[in-house]
Symmetry: D2
Subunit: 487 residues, 4 copies
């Protein structure tokens, strides 16, 4: 059923679930959307979809499993998506699906209203989707997908407002959770962020009167669009006829952007909150070297996500940076239905140790995070088997001890290593000479908060580290999830 297996490492990373991209005002808009989605592919590799609108041809859509480069580049496909207005979505997997995705769960979703059609693409997760869905079904809604995002379309269909943007406001006021939503009507491109602004969304300008909305700035770069600004938390922009109208449909709230976007989700060449993601990650390495120094011969990243922090650690510590582990560049997607023997090779299919380099050396390995810890163990095995004298792990994020309910695919809490073990127990379980995580304050400093974390009113959403959820995960609580006890 499912077109490909997860990456060998995928069960040991938190995974951003979606990226969204939209363009208005240029011929063959869908081509630009495909490029934007390609740049955002790291936010969702399982499937993607594009909806476009052309006055002659109406709304058209293509939704497919697999990579953007394979599905949305051929002339034969792209010709079926005409028009100067289009939106797209890449996804990993929805909260709703039971372990695998059907093509009907692939966004954008589309609804035909009395005043015309509307397509929406959603990055994030609605924390009250289960109860909304139950209510909507009782009132006669026919759901076509298992996605929480489809609630938005049904809420809009039942709104008594006359225009689609107003109906969208009605709908989004009824939902809870994290959402960066891009939508399109026959004439408008719409972008909205939830009041806390948990997920990113940026606005770009693409020549005269043409605009783009993208999850990250790297999506603007690929199409040559100029980065204008971030959409604010709680803001809705409606773009039509070359004009951008802004409104604030929600009650004011203090912003709580996802700090893990800085650590891992976003691409290193994107800019978040005015800061280079790469530079922030390098700075994490610097902080980590200050907090947790160790004598060693080499600093090696666990490729590719540990690289910027390893560079920072090396620069701060003076210990030489080296590529001790080489990644097989032909592993973009894992083997489909491999034989048993091939499956058992596990991590060796993807990584190889640079034996001649690490033999007899004391090695510091820098990784972005520890989730289940299974990969850390395998990497440690490889590097010791190649003859390293000592192995020291340095992790560019605090211990991940709580699941995320705002659009990230996390294991159940009991499967998070940090939920059940102390730092020292983790060190022993992984089997390394030392294991150190950056502190929460160190991480806040690296993202530019010189004073560290404000414990009363934290500047970011860091629930995966702190257990402090800025929006109550009501569906989860109804299913029995135990929140952190108040202290």
């Amino acid at each position: 059923m499912r077109p490909f297996l997860a990456h060998p490492f995928d069960d040991d990373k938190l995974k951003e679930e979606c990226g969204v991209f939209g363009v208005i005002g240029v011929a063959e808009a869908a081509n630009f959307v495909a490029l934007g989605m390609h740049a955002l592919q790291h936010r969702g590799q399982e499937a993607g979809g594009i909806v476009s609108y052309d006055p002659q041809e109406g709304f058209n859509s293509v939704r497919r499993f697999g990579y953007v480069r394979d599905n949305f580049t051929k002339a034969g496909v792209m010709e079926t998506l005409p028009g100067a207005l289009a939106i797209g979505h890449v996804r990993y997997s929805t909260a709703g699906s039971k372990g695998h995705t059907a093509i009907r769960d692939v966004q954008p979703f589309f609804g035909e209203f009395a005043m015309g059609g509307c397509a929406i693409a959603h990055n994030g997760n609605l924390t009250n989707a289960a109860s909304l869905r139950r209510d909507l079904i009782e009132r006669g809604a026919i759901f076509q997908s298992s996605s929480d995002s489809e609630c938005i379309i049904h809420l809009m269909a039942r709104s008594i407002q006359k225009s689609i943007p107003e109906r969208m406001k009605d709908a989004l006021r009824a939902v809870e959770g994290a959402f960066s939503v891009i939508a399109m009507t026959r004439t408008k491109l719409i972008g909205v962020r939830d009041p806390l602004g948990v997920r990113p969304l940026v606005l770009g300008k693409l020549g005269d009167g043409a605009y783009a909305l993208s999850s990250e700035t790297c999506g603007l770069d690929i199409i040559g669009a100029e980065f204008v600004r971030e959409i604010d938390p709680g803001e809705m922009v409606v773009i039509a006829d070359g004009k951008v109208d802004s409104s604030r449909p929600f009650a004011p709230a203090k912003a709580r952007f996802c700090i893990f976007e800085h650590v891992y989700f976003s691409r290193p060449d994107s800019i978040l909150g005015g800061r280079s993601v790469y530079e922030t990650r390098r700075q994490i390495g610097v902080e980590l070297a200050k907090e947790s120094p160790v004598e060693a011969d080499l600093v090696c990243p666990v490729p590719d996500s540990g690289t910027p922090a390893a560079i920072g650690y090396s620069q701060e510590s003076g210990i030489p940076y080296a590529m001790g582990i080489i990644r097989n560049q032909y592993m973009g997607r894992t083997f489909i239905e491999p034989t048993e023997q091939i499956r058992n090779m596990g991590v060796r299919l993807k990584l190889n140790v640079n034996r001649a380099l690490v033999k007899g050396k004391r090695v510091i390995l820098v990784d972005d995070s520890v989730v289940r810890g299974t990969t850390s163990r395998k990497v440690k095995d490889m590097i010791l088997e190649a003859g390293a004298a000592e192995v020291h792990f340095r992790i560019a994020s605090p211990p991940t001890a709580w699941p995320c309910f705002y659009g990230v695919d996390t294991p159940e809490r009991e499967k998070l290593l940090a939920a059940t073990m102390s730092e020292d127990e983790m060190r022993e379980w992984i089997g390394v000479d030392s294991l150190k995580f950056i502190s929460l304050d160190g991480l806040y400093r690296a993202v530019g908060e010189a004073g560290g974390r404000n414990a009363k009113t934290p500047q970011y959403c860091d629930a995966c580290f702190s257990g402090e959820y800025p929006v109550a995960p009501s569906d989860q609580i109804a299913k029995g999830f135990a929140m952190k006890a108040a202290e």
Copy 2:
């Protein structure tokens, strides 16, 4: 016809044309061969093939366009390749084909002789294939491919020797050029290197009585085989019944290993001539920093092949290393038949500049080589457009001024930038503040020859830099290729 376009950069790199891998003595040998080929995928991405032998099922083969991970991992395919003996081949494109490859050109090639079948896989190129082919056709041979390598099979078929290894010696004594050949009969795994040992070939041990042959040591690592030794230039090994027999079928000659394997072709985690490829490349950066220093703020690799030399340059110069250019990791294979608009995005599909990082900075870009120079210009454009103050190119190889005829896909000589321009003209054409190549002596020092290049009897084949061809390219000369004039 052709299943995918070349990479955007592929016309601006020299490309190794093949990798070979074989295993004897383990159940489901084809699975191991598939893994070895996956590790050697960088040596040939266009197509691959495996032949296996099982006493019940005889010889079986599968040959396909595309990646190993897509073609040779599914249980349904691998079950058709039973047996404890198998060889495989990955290829880029043959010398013989007119710009595109037919499936009949995909190796291993197979011949049924009176004493049984034999499959061969060839890395390298035969420089007298055209005249051999002409002669063979006149004597009644029916060629099935346009590959030079098929001559070997026909020469073997006409040998009067009684055993397949002896027939192979007959055949290989008749050919000229570069060859690392792996072959198999019903009971034997055979490996041979040409007298100069231009292309690599290594022997590994995989438990009790089981052996592997591989183009590079990284192919042994992935299957957990122990690296035993390199096959010597001019050596043939015949492996059967757990024993390795060695012989020297050719007249003795001074070895001339390809120095470009160190610079670019081989994987950084392989070991060539007892040296870590990664460490050699880092050392090239060190030499380059000594030879061609410049004041700057950042040292950035052109990803991914410039990375080790950039690290070395940074370490020697003290200028910070930084990821100024980010590679899109979902570009393993280029878009198939993209729309015009998408094709025009060119290098932006693959690379993005880390704008926030390079803005206002003096940047040293380290790349492995300059072939046509087109990529260098595009990368310079991107980095200037992002606001860099100065751009200095440092190249980890000498100017590539001559084509290779020993198994590497090179443009015609007039398309090589260094064949028609001086270093300063190249600098101007590319449009950068400075451009420096490592010297030939510097390169020799980096590969361990402390005294540099021995001009009388060079230690390596460096024809692409020096124009001194260790084996006369006779087919090319017949077609009018002008050798370097004797000095």
Copy 3:
């Protein structure tokens, strides 16, 4: 977009749009449904879908373009449709789609209600679907397809009834037109025919407590089910726990079964109204020979649909029956995107005249119907070119002068040859020596109405011949369709 072109003849036949099939009470019910759909493939070749239910696995569905034999037979696909309850649908094209079908238009449709899921498959056409759809959208329904049949699901979703069968009654009382509907819940298989019983639907028994519903009896034969009886016009059966409950949810009405099912749509080995379809068609040939005799040497069918009537004509007239035209049996589906040259071969790709047989002969050609007349002209050209002395057409149905709005794909009225020409004008336009259609009374006699057609209260729906529509086609009238003037 569209996966295959229409048959060369398809634009010159009326086409039944759908076949439905369902099974309850046997393991792997979906396999039986696939076989039933295969037997009903003549009722819809464009696409097909199956929904199954299993208590462990819930509802599953597969919907595909193409033939049942290609899509619904592989173990890998059928294993995804577990359970003892399944329904399926084959379709030609819906009234709603603009010339081509999207996969979202492929039935069965599925709705999740508060009391559980329900899948429905519909044969027929709703004549008030456009106005129903408009109303539903205004009340917040999100339509996923362009199919008229989806209205039924939305009407059910809005019903206040507690059980699914009762909601289905509510919904079907609101629709007008022709419908033979099969539906399934988690525990029930449901079948309903509209009050006039325009489309067929039969009940079969498949061993102990297991039942099947099928559009035609040939679907029961293929799975070895015993034909129990037809579902009555206006009847609903609900099958669960091995019991068949019958009810009559609609106001009583006089039945008006589609007479064209006897002429062409149904398979010759099916039984309709207690009569063999083959025998009825042969009897049409007998009546035709009585009504329109002619001196000739051979009676030849236009294969394959004219065969039974040609046999009857030959038997009644004493003129020998012969296969004067041979059908290429490898033309089940037409060439996909053929070259211009191949497309121009037209009818020759499908039919060839038996030249040696017809040369110099007076030939009677028997065909089932004349729609646009284009095929008749081409067949006449072929047979004259092969040297026939005379060509006489005999048509096994009256002139088709009116479109069908009850689930049949007919051209617009002005494209029906009989809508604009007299019989003699048609003879001249086609270019044959004589052309005769069976009379409406003759057709009624052939289906067993010894007294012919009852003009006051016709026994069948014969609107395509008579223009007398038993259900007013209200959507069509709203769009400007001119009904036959009252006499």
Copy 4:
């Protein structure tokens, strides 16, 4: 591996193994070849290939598994086969392959000789191929396929003649068996029949200076070519520059055309030896009715191959002809990897009895042949289960008691029902009220030999009935095949 299973009936029919078609002198010749192959598809459904030649583009070829209509009609494919000269081949399976075919066994075969390329397509089978192959391999030939036909190419490659037609004569004088061969060089279309003319081959004219060669006349009809004449047994025609040159390269011999081409292999609309195949088959039915009358109510063909003989039987006997068994027209190719349950439905997937028609009737079933008899039993079961009162089988060929070695796929002798049972034992085993085969003399009368079979010098090859092989099957005898004892 194998792309589709055999038809449910395929193991119970003799199967012609190949059809050949060639065209010279028209633009886009490959399109005409594709049409001709489509018309000859009944002679080979497993795979097909086309080779074309264009002065600019050289020789091109496409070889594929599956139907012509699926592989050789798309513009994208046909554009790769340019030129005014092309040949094609459809195949069932070769004598050489072990139960399944590799793509390398798909013809035409191609050889590059010193004087240019040559492609050949072969209908028939070489009876000394095994010994020829052994000799050729010892002399250095590399075989690429398991096909007997490849010997012809290697024999040509070793000929000392200067021109390709002369080399072909050399080669064909060395082979034994049955062959109708079509070949092409850069300028010539060549056709040859073996001295006995076992397989058919006809010449057609396609306008000014353009010609076609085809296995049967139906291939000429589809492209609108005029039937000129049959190629004579032992004749070679070389067509170039609008001229047809004829020569007789072999020693004269009495012709022995395959009589089974009349019974079953050829299409009913083809003309063989000046006679309509349809009319011959009808006449077989007439002879059968004279030889083996029986009282009954209906004469029904086993579709589709029994139809003409059933018509003849009905006409001679006066018993009404009826379609008692209906064939599912969507079964052109059998289910791919069906589930167990679907596979077990067997014959019901393909045929259904017209229950209402046969119930209580005495039915004569007319079939073309009995091979293993398994189908006959299943058909009898179906018709009795539907309530027939009596079942009488009449077979339009004599008992098939001997395998064919001249290009027909026959079971081993012991699997032929008539090889081990008398007519009465067969009747009992099949389980019918009577079973009668046409006599060998009756068959000869039906094909126009008023005096029946000439026992001394039979006019046809009828080895499958008589065991008298006109060419000794030497490879088979070497493998132990026991010829019929001389009387």
